[in-house]
Structure formats: structure tokens, C-alpha cells
């Protein structure tokens, strides 16, 4: 893969994660357990979709294909999002834990992308980093409180951590071509992000009274948890087709319509 192809591959993976998670978060609009969180998650959903759009504009500058075409006219089996973001919204605890895992990964990844030698990536990373900082503050706050608030909240949060942890490791499946970009200091290596992510999330879970399937000292090397890989290779769960079909339904009725 040459550098140009590698950039396209990386930008699509970043955009697909944001786009699909944004739509999963939006499924809470009108259904969240608190009106305040309902609005908060709708805001977060819009932010994530906005981030997807930013990455897709860079993609457009390389390929000439506009963001709407990429988002709404690609088949689900062309997406390269990880499995974590495509899973059904589950219960509120699952949504909070998933979003926390994602936001923590974003903060680590964007921290590197803010230093990228490739200007378009660096400029966007600088712009969206503060929004992800805020998302993390919000979701981490919820994890710390719900982790040990009541017997029920603890039980549901622990179940969500057990369920989402391996899925979250799929965020760090190597993106095709990333080695080419990492060699040129355009993006970080996925393993580097994973190790920093583990060092961050495991202590937060511990402080919140939640068990992690790995402990912070053995890192990813010592974990027995199965990482949910495949998403970056376009091998998906059955849930992706459902969310992509929902998301594209209206656009495909009259492609190119102006709203």
C-alpha cells in the first residue's frame, strides 16, 4: 500500500468509527433514563458525526468523493469501523461504558494526531481534541458514579465492562496501511495507543469499584481477553448491516436531495 492509499484507509476507519457510534448514540434520543442525559447523548452523537464529517472532508480532498456519498452510498461491508461501535445500544450501563472506552481511546489517538506531520490530520485533531476531552469528562464522571452507586448500578456496570472490554480492544486492531504512515510520523502505531489506553482505563475502573479483565501491570501482553478483531478488515457482526441500513434509508430514497 502506498502512502496515498494508506491515508485513505486510515481516514475512512476513523470516520467510520465516529459515524456509526454517533448513530448508535442517537438511538437514545427520546429514550435515555434522564432528560439531561438524553440531551447530553444527543449532543455527543452530533459531535461524533461532525468528527466523521471532518475526516471525510480530508478523504474528499484526496479522492474527490464527497462525505455524503461515502457515508450514505457505501454498502455496510465496505465500512472499516471496529465492532465496538456497531453493537446495539444495549442498556444504559453498556452505552456509558462503551462511550467511556471510545472517548479514552480518542484522547490517546488524537494526542498523537495533534503532532502529525501531515497538516490536514493535525489541524482536525487540534480542533476536535477539546470536544473529546469534554466527552471523556462526561462519560468518566458517569462511570465513577454508577460503578459503585447501588448494588444494581454496580451489577449492570460490571456486566457492561465484561461485555465491552474485548470489543474495545478491537479499536486497536491495526488499520491497513498504518505501518506506512507510522513510519513517517503521520499516525501512531495502534499497539502504542492500546497500551496507553489500558494504563488509563484500568485504574479508572478500579477506582470506580469495577473489575477489569486485565490488570494494569500486565498490559495487553498478559491479557486473556479476546480482542474483537475483524472490523478493520471489513469482517463485521450482523449488527452493522442493521445500523447502516437505518442510517442510509432516507438518503437512498432520493440521493442528492437538498434539505
Amino acid at each position: 500500500m502506498n502512502k496515498e492509499q494508506a491515508l485513505q484507509s486510515y481516514l475512512l476507519a476513523l470516520a467510520d468509527d465516529e459515524l456509526i457510534l454517533g448513530h448508535r448514540d442517537a438511538e437514545w434520543t427520546g429514550h435515555a433514563p434522564l432528560i439531561e442525559e438524553d440531551i447530553a447523548f444527543s449532543n455527543i452523537a452530533q459531535d461524533e458525526i461532525g468528527h466523521a464529517q471532518s475526516w471525510l472532508r480530508v478523504y474528499e480532498s484526496l479522492t474527490g468523493t464527497d462525505p455524503d456519498t461515502v457515508a450514505f452510498l457505501r454498502d455496510h461491508n465496505e465500512f472499516t469501523c471496529c465492532h465496538l461501535v456497531q453493537m446495539p445500544k444495549g442498556d444504559w450501563a453498556y452505552t456509558i461504558v462503551r462511550q467511556f472506552f471510545f472517548d479514552a481511546a480518542e484522547i490517546v489517538r488524537l494526542g498523537y494526531l495533534k503532532q502529525s506531520v501531515y497538516d490536514p490530520i493535525r489541524e482536525i485533531a487540534v480542533k476536535i481534541y477539546p470536544e473529546e476531552q469534554y466527552h471523556l469528562l462526561h462519560t468518566q464522571g458517569n462511570v465513577e458514579r454508577l460503578g459503585d452507586a447501588t448494588e444494581e448500578s454496580h451489577r449492570r456496570m460490571q456486566r457492561a465492562v465484561d461485555e465491552a472490554f474485548g470489543q474495545a480492544l478491537g479499536l486497536f486492531e491495526s488499520i491497513p496501511g498504518e505501518d506506512v504512515l507510522a513510519d513517517e510520523n503521520i499516525v501512531p502505531d495502534s499497539k502504542t495507543i492500546e497500551n496507553e489506553w489500558l494504563q488509563f482505563v484500568v485504574p479508572v475502573l478500579k477506582r470506580s469499584g469495577l473489575r477489569s479483565p486485565v490488570d494494569e501491570t500486565n498490559g495487553s501482553g498478559g491479557t486473556d481477553v479476546k480482542s474483537w478483531y475483524g472490523g478493520r478488515q471489513k469482517e463485521h457482526t450482523g449488527h452493522l448491516k442493521q445500523i447502516v441500513t437505518d442510517m442510509q434509508q432516507v438518503y437512498r430514497m432520493i440521493p442528492g436531495a437538498k434539505w
Binding site: I35, I39, A40, N43, G141, A149
Partner: protein, 95 residues
């Protein structure tokens, strides 16, 4: 049934530095940190904002609508109102 509602926090919003903090509504939240975050979500999303205050609803000291005398204005107080003085003719000095 147990009351599962979180405490209520009154929210005050400041549009720019030096401007007054204006009461804009209330949020439910478990504690002060979450109250500020929820207030940001509800009230600083569309409005410009540089600062928010949150105050536990029960910490607001308030008058009682039913006190018959507290705000009574039974005698003529028009002399205290600005519109008690005739304004100069509009436009008189404008040309």
C-alpha cells in the same frame, strides 16, 4: 416507591465576562460536578457561554407567594415610577 429523582440544581448562565449571571432553568444531577456538566449540556449548547453557576434548589432562599403584606402596593406609588415624569418630545433635538 422510593424517590429515585436526583437533586435539583438551579442554573445561572453568563453570556460574557462582566455580564450578570441570569437564571435559565434547572437540572437534575447527583452532585455539583455532574450538575455543572448537565447545565453545560442543557444551557450552553446554543447560547454563548463563559461561565455557569449551579445552586441546590433547597439553598435558594425565597419569598412566599401567600404572604399578604410583603409586596403589597395598596397606596398610590406612581411617583416612584420613571414614567411619572413626562419625557421630552421625541425627535426635538434630533436635527
Amino acid at each position: 416507591m422510593n424517590d429515585t429523582q436526583l437533586p435539583i440544581w438551579e442554573v445561572f448562565h453568563q453570556e460574557k465576562r462582566g455580564a450578570p449571571h441570569v437564571h435559565v432553568g434547572a437540572v437534575h444531577a447527583s452532585d455539583e460536578e455532574m450538575a455543572l456538566r448537565m447545565a453545560k449540556e442543557q444551557f450552553a449548547r446554543r447560547l454563548e457561554c463563559v461561565s455557569l453557576w449551579v445552586v441546590r434548589e433547597e439553598h435558594v432562599v425565597r419569598t412566599n407567594y401567600d404572604d399578604p403584606f410583603f409586596f403589597a402596593r395598596n397606596t398610590d406609588k406612581r411617583y416612584r415610577e420613571v414614567h411619572g415624569f413626562p419625557a421630552p418630545l421625541k425627535g426635538k433635538h434630533s436635527e
